[in-house]
């Protein structure tokens, strides 16, 4: 089997000092800056008014009753169910009881919802602006450099990943271009930021993207654009179809079987 000759490219060792290290340092510094910028720009979560708290917690009370109905006796359960169903139906728990039955307000016009969107915008800006600037900077100054050779062999598939910006067909995939190094830094610096800034930092854009993709279910439950009256109606149905089994039924026999002195 013929040995493939090892490619050698003579690089100026200065490339290492003037490209590889600067890119890494700049990436770390922007991450730290982004973290502090996000911290500074973050607005304190808006305080909820008492009626809003009441609306949410009354719904939660219904959910709790449904989930844990079995710990209380049948008459107690029935009394609570009747009370909650009647109040849900009359809209007594609503933030604005007189607005019952109207369509939910458009989330774009709701000032509370706008606030949340502004927060998201700020987060996005803090991510996009430095990203664009650094990408432009790297493109302008460092494009087309091959900066390091990875110490392990790689298959041809890695070529597009590691040699972005260097259009050379036959070069071994072990060689790495400056733009690829930049991309690698974006994804690989998470642990460095964790070390520098603590684990809940805002430096990594990866986490921010994840956060945008799957917002927590809790936020969605009471989020803007959800009609609380509809949620109450749904909860009425849930409560009405619930079958009640009292936990204390036969507990003495269960206990006698399990506990041995």
């Amino acid at each position: 089997m013929a040995q493939v000759p090892v490619q050698t490219i003579h690089r100026d060792p200065q490339l290492f000092y003037w490209i590889l290290i600067p890119i890494t340092v700049v990436m770390i510094l922007t991450g730290v800056l982004r973290h502090y910028a996000t911290v500074l720009m973050a607005t304190a979560p808006k305080k909820q008014e008492l009626p809003a708290i009441k609306e949410q917690r009354s719904l939660l009370r219904g959910v709790n009753l449904r989930a844990n109905a079995n710990v209380i006796s049948a008459p107690s359960f029935q009394a609570r169910k009747d009370y909650l169903v009647a109040s849900y139906e009359s809209g007594a728990f609503l933030k604005e009881p007189d607005k019952k039955g109207q369509a939910a307000p458009n989330p774009m016009t709701d000032p509370a919802a706008m606030e949340g969107m502004m927060g998201m915008m700020k987060g996005n800006m803090a991510m996009i602006v430095p990203q664009t600037l650094i990408m432009g900077w790297i493109n302008a100054f460092f494009s087309g450099f091959v900066i390091i050779r990875l110490p392990f062999p790689l298959t041809i598939k890695f070529k597009s990943m590691l040699q972005a910006g260097v259009a050379t067909k036959d070069m071994d995939p072990q060689w790495m271009s400056s733009i690829s190094w930049y991309v690698l830094c974006i994804f690989g610096l998470q642990s460095v930021f964790n070390y520098l800034l603590g684990s809940d930092n805002a430096a990594s854009q990866m986490q921010q993207q994840m956060g945008q993709m799957g917002p927590g279910a809790g936020a969605q439950m009471f989020g803007p654009g959800v009609d609380p009256d509809k949620q109450f109606q749904a909860e009425i149905e849930n409560l009405n179809v619930l079958a009640h089994h009292y936990t204390l039924e036969g507990v003495e026999d269960r206990l006698l079987q399990t506990v041995v002195v």
């Binding site: 709790n64 989930a67 006796s73 008459p75 603590g198 269960r254």
Partner: protein, 358 residues
């Protein structure tokens, strides 16, 4: 030691609280007083952790219990420095501090007035409205406290702490059905809390002994204690209550054989005499085991409250003495158990704040 500072200090015994507060000067010297989030030094110094601020809060409460007001004030200052004087919890903590250093009723009234001013500005300030309620209670204005607590629960009906406080207020006013209702609400939030199951059993027992011919309450009380034991194998209060209720049930069951059939169908049927007898034996055996092992300091049997062990011992002794008792037994149970419960409630009252910084 530091770990006990991270838990809410409500359950600490006085000696532990004293020990903690005696270490306060040392702790205050060694812990960082303020952590600025924007300084360069945060790059290499230890990251700010929520535990630090929990420590400060609990240390402050322990210091207030033991009368070390200087250290408590220092803790309060550091918390204020970090979270700002307008923070909801800090408003409540400051009020707590002022309550603790108040000398007479007038000073307490001033604090109450302050709470009310805060609440006019921001009715949604939960910690302060809780403090106001417990201040009302400690000023012996129980009816007002109950009204205020009911308003509070109207806005926030999923607060287990407030419901249990309400039930305790109702018990102290002798309104047992309301107290039972409130405890059931607690159970709806925390369905597996064995101590709440046992507490509900106790209140049901009190309700059963306050009115005549309420076998239903008694049977339910016994079942609550059973459930409590089912959830926590070695729960002393559960066995204590189980023993008391089964003893009483045995006397009433033999008397009311006839009326058993006439009960309505909605509630559970009364338990059979055999199973009650066996439960009574079980409770007696387990209680004596707990007392024996705990007093001989066996490994793994520590951690029971002293007063509870004494009460259990006393109950067993009462059983051993061949004296027939009538109604006196019931009221004796209430005062015994009420005493130990009061101890818990007292410490609970001094805090009445949830332990997490949000």
């Amino acid at each position: 030691m530091a770990s006990s500072l991270l838990h809410p200090p409500a359950h600490l015994s006085p000696s532990v609280a004293l020990q903690l507060s005696q270490q306060a000067p040392y702790l205050l010297r060694t812990t960082p007083s303020a952590i600025s989030p924007y300084s360069l030094s945060s790059l290499w110094s230890a990251a700010e952790s929520p535990e630090l601020w929990t420590t400060y809060e609990n240390l402050m409460l322990s210091c207030l219990r033991t009368g070390d007001e200087q250290s408590a004030h220092l803790c309060l200052e550091r918390l204020t420095e970090r979270f700002g004087a307008d923070n909801e919890r800090l408003l409540a903590l400051r009020g707590l501090f002022q309550e603790a250093i108040a000398n007479d009723n007038d000073a307490l009234k001033k604090v109450l007035k302050e709470y009310e001013n805060i609440l006019i500005k921001d009715p949604a300030n939960m910690p302060v409205s809780k403090r106001r309620i417990s201040l009302l209670r400690s000023m012996n204005r129980t009816t007002e406290a109950i009204t205020a607590l009911n308003d509070f629960l109207d806005a926030s009906p999923t607060d287990a702490e407030a419901w249990s406080e309400l039930s305790d207020l109702y018990v102290s006013s002798g309104m047992f059905p309301q107290a039972i209702f409130a405890l059931e609400e607690v159970l709806l939030v925390t369905p597996n809390a064995w101590n709440i199951h046992a507490r509900l059993g106790e209140v049901l027992y009190m309700a059963a002994s306050s009115e005549t011919g309420s076998d239903k309450h008694l049977a339910e009380s016994m079942r609550r204690f059973c459930r409590s034991i089912e959830l926590c194998d070695d729960y002393l209060r559960g066995y204590y209550g189980l023993k008391i209720t089964t003893t009483k049930l045995l006397t009433t069951l033999s008397q009311s054989q006839v009326s058993r059939q006439s009960k309505s169908d909605t509630a559970l049927p009364l338990p059979s005499v055999q199973s009650v007898e066996r439960l009574n034996e079980l409770a007696t055996a387990k209680l004596s085991e707990i007392v024996r092992r705990s007093t001989s300091n066996d490994a793994g049997w520590q951690g029971y409250e002293k007063p509870e062990i004494i009460a259990a011992q006393e109950l067993l002794n009462r059983d051993a003495a061949p004296i027939t008792r009538s109604n006196a037994q019931g009221s004796g149970f209430i005062s015994d158990m009420d005493f130990t419960w009061k101890v818990e409630i007292f410490t609970f009252l001094t805090i009445f704040l949830t332990p997490t910084w949000t």
